[in-house]
């Protein structure tokens, strides 16, 4: 384990060859933005929008096109080339990125822009000292202050950050820069203590045991109608979710010249599955809410062997009418028990 003084972080950021994203104050909370010389805010807990937006931008050009007489000229957008460093993401969001990897970097097709960016991304995870009341990462087997497989895990000890590399790439970077010193034994045990204590601060629990199997049996249960009743069908939960990956493809053009781009889309929107002939397989919010919960709790496990939820709590924190996935899971468990 290595240590770096917080005052030396600007030197670290400057030494990194690529674009460095750090947490910044944004709106009534925090967000990730390219480092501009300011150090990150000390009271930062987690960002409103997850760092998925760095790897999977909300809007991204695919190609530009030009109609030339009968012809179409297509010019693919130049992909992202610059290496990306995300400094200070939380273990839940690290997991979120790993889950997006399963979607975008696996299966018969790779998602080229995501994969290209991801191959060039270095993730520097900062352990949480304390969870928020809406955090329930431990329910999904995550730890608030440690992310297995992260390039770096870091712990904030006040004056210094402790760094432990978790990948070959992580070790190489740590060894290659002269900004670090070996951590003292005292510091290492402090970090371990922080890690253990952080776990205890996660009080919210979601009952995950057997939920997938239970939901498989209850697709038509009246509970769905009840749960969906208060949903307003906005997309806040999905856009702020670190694992939601749905997107739309759209064009914008003037006089036959324009761009095709992709942008986030939400399964909560009324026209999301609407077909050209007018048929909609998910016509009301009962089906839409059901799809969102099942995607996370049943389909993701069926397809990838992992839950599509990391317990970051953003959806419960930000839903205008306080829909709560943990409460839903508890309700569903009750229903299944009967």
């Amino acid at each position: 384990m290595k240590a770096i003084s917080k005052t030396a972080l600007p030197d670290l950021f400057a030494a990194l060859k690529g674009r460095v994203y750090v947490p910044v104050r944004e709106g009534k909370g925090f967000g990730f933005a390219p480092w501009d010389g300011e150090i990150w805010p000390a009271d930062y807990q987690n960002t409103i929008v997850p760092p998925k937006q760095i790897l999977f931008p909300q809007t991204e050009d695919l190609y530009s096109f030009r109609m030339e007489g009968e012809d179409i000229a297509i010019d693919p957008a130049s992909g992202p080339e610059e290496p990306i460093f995300i400094f200070g993401l939380r273990p839940c969001d690290h997991k979120g990125i790993e889950l997006l990897d399963l979607v975008f970097r696996q299966g018969p097709y790779l998602d080229a822009p995501y994969s290209k960016r991801r191959d060039n991304t270095f993730l520097m995870v900062l352990g949480c000292k304390e969870g928020l009341p809406t955090c329930f990462c431990t329910s999904f087997g995550l730890e608030p202050a440690f992310a297995p497989g992260a390039d770096w895990n870091m712990w904030d000890l006040g004056e210094v950050l402790l760094i432990e590399p978790g990948t070959a790439k992580g070790k190489e970077l740590l060894d290659g820069l002269e900004l670090f010193r070996e951590a003292t034994e005292e510091e290492v045990s402090q970090a371990k203590k922080l890690r253990d204590e952080a776990r205890e601060t996660i009080t919210l629990q979601a009952p995950v045991e057997g939920i997938t199997e239970g939901l498989q049996e209850n697709f038509e249960h009246p509970l769905w109608e009840e749960v969906a009743r208060k949903c307003l069908e906005c997309g806040a939960c999905t856009y702020l979710c670190p694992t939601c990956h749905c997107y739309d493809l759209q064009s914008t053009s003037v006089l036959g010249q324009g761009k095709r781009f992709r942008c986030w889309d939400s399964c909560m929107y009324c026209n999301y599955t609407l077909m050209a002939g007018g048929h909609n397989p998910r016509p009301t919010k009962r089906e839409r809410v059901r799809n969102r919960f099942l995607h996370k709790l049943q389909y993701f496990p069926e397809n990838h062997g992992e839950f599509g939820c990391v317990g970051c709590g953003r959806c419960l924190q930000n839903c205008p009418v306080h829909m709560d996935i943990t409460r839903f899971m508890a309700q569903a468990k009750d229903v299944m028990a009967k």
């Binding site: 096109f65 009968e70 179409i72 998602d111 697709f219 997107y247 889309d265």
Partner: protein, 272 residues
């Protein structure tokens, strides 16, 4: 790494009007076929400034060109219907699993199509007829709303019936003075013909309501769920199982489908 979402440019080399709202387009890429495909697979056809939509490929891979039969129902299809010879379109694909050819080999085949639902079946029918020795008897039952709504009439009435071992029956919901054939829904015809389920696979495609009744009738005639194949349609955007739109349960129609046996569908939630 190529971006799957970027189409290649193909040209319209033929346009054939099938009905008042269905046209069949033939596309050719720069080097001939835009890409290799199998019967039952789909492709995204696009006009960049309008949009993109998924269509089943109507031609058989044994043909030289790639054909799409497109019904005018929305924004993209309306624009496609205005295409003229020589114009360029974007195509990407192939997408989806296609028909399970190994499973069909050596079997008798029963095709039941309704309306534009004959489009994906046509690909397989022509493929089987071009590889005639690999398959047993071929029965084709096709229905449309009226004689004017019948697609692929050349094949229905001229080409297919002439092939040995092939029987074609066509029905319309409502006839007119020119119509000599049967009148009524396809299920009626199906019950009358009562094809023996033994060693036979039924392949059906059409409007959801027709499929529903066809499945019921087939069950009545003794067909098992794993003897019946259908191909589904959903709103799709990416075609590569990532944009999240076309799922039924955990399956994405664009990669896990669109072709399913009824036995497979039974395992999926009812969200068609």
């Amino acid at each position: 790494m190529t971006n799957e979402l970027i189409p290649q440019v193909a040209k319209v080399v033929a346009v054939r009007r099938e009905t008042s709202d269905v046209k069949t387009f033939t596309f050719r890429g720069e080097g001939g076929l835009p890409f290799a495909y199998m019967p039952g697979q789909c492709a995204m056809v696009s006009l960049p400034s309008v949009g993109e939509a998924m269509f089943s490929i109507t031609s058989s891979p044994t043909q030289e060109d790639m054909e799409f039969s497109i019904k005018r129902v929305g924004l993209v299809t309306e624009a496609l219907h205005k295409l003229t010879l020589g114009q360029a379109v974007g195509v990407r694909g192939p997408y989806g699993n296609g028909f399970p050819l190994e499973m069909l080999q050596g079997k008798d085949l029963l095709f039941i199509g309704g309306g534009i639902g004959l489009a994906p079946l046509r690909s397989l029918i022509n493929y089987c007829l071009d590889n005639r020795a690999d398959y047993g008897g071929v029965d084709i039952i096709y229905g449309a709303r009226s004689p004017q709504d019948l697609v692929f009439t050349d094949e229905l009435f001229e080409r297919w019936p002439k092939v040995e071992g092939v029987q074609v029956q066509t029905t319309v919901d409502v006839g007119d003075e020119t119509w000599q054939g049967p009148v009524g829904v396809v299920t009626k015809l199906l019950e009358e013909l009562n094809p023996d389920p033994q060693g036979r696979i039924a392949i059906t495609c059409g409007p959801p309501i027709m499929i529903k009744f066809v499945l019921r009738t087939l069950a009545k005639l003794g067909y098992q769920d794993d003897q019946i194949i259908t191909t589904l349609e959903k709103r799709m955007k990416c075609g590569v199982g990532k944009c999240g739109r076309c799922n039924i349960g955990g399956k994405y129609i664009c990669v896990d489908g669109p072709v399913f046996t009824v036995a497979q569908l039974r395992d999926l939630p009812d969200e068609l």
